[in-house]
Subunit: 131 residues, 2 copies
């Protein structure tokens, strides 16, 4: 299912167990981020180290286990792990040998957020009506 | 587990089935986004409509089912659903009566992304070494 209105657009990736890599920037016409949902097979590794020019990356691990590397240092990740990497960090990910690894990666311009939640949100009067 | 280096910081929310609401901006010292992971109990609804001043929101649903409302229009969401809402959209979410609803919400400054992935990433020579 997908659809849109003046102020929104939605789509579906299907069940997460079947996702390999989905990117949302173009699918949802995003203007402030690229978001990808990735599932690496057990034992697989991204075959290269990469950094970024302008973008901060935020990783949210939602299933499985693996190892994260930044600038030669390594730490374990699993469901519930969250990671920020600054543009200059040389990063890579490897799935554990016995478990797929599913995670979201959010790319945003470093330093671009000026306010959020309580300082950016506006609450409107009237309870929502559910049809 | 949590830790940090010159170009990164990581932490853990624990198992997603036990998360109620976790926010990453302060925990990871993010500079380009706020990211929250939310789990709404079956039948629960956010009790108000809200919009934003500057921020685009991106929702990624990772478990359960529910209904999303923007500007009075409603559509169903479930595992794998993804939604962009522009700052002005008056939005709300309700979990289905018989299923918890778990989702990520990413807040970013609308219009702030100038390049991403192939145009922002830099691949470094040499395969990653796994310890």
């Amino acid at each position: 299912m997908s659809g849109q209105g003046m102020n929104y657009r939605y789509s579906s990736m299907g069940a997460l167990k079947d996702v390999r890599r989905e990117t949302l920037h173009d699918a949802l016409e995003l203007t402030g981020a690229e978001v990808s949902i990735n599932r690496m097979a057990a034992g697989a590794s991204v075959p290269f180290l990469h950094s970024h020019k302008l973008n901060e990356e935020i990783y949210v691990f939602i299933k499985g286990r693996g190892v994260f590397q930044v600038d030669g240092e390594q730490f374990e990740v699993q469901e519930g792990s969250v990671v920020r990497v600054d543009p200059a960090g040389k990063r890579c990910i490897k799935a554990a040998d016995d478990a797929d690894l599913t995670y979201l990666c959010v790319q945003v311009t470093a330093g671009s957020l000026t306010q959020f939640t309580m300082t950016d949100g506006v609450v409107h009067e009237g309870a929502p009506v559910w049809k």
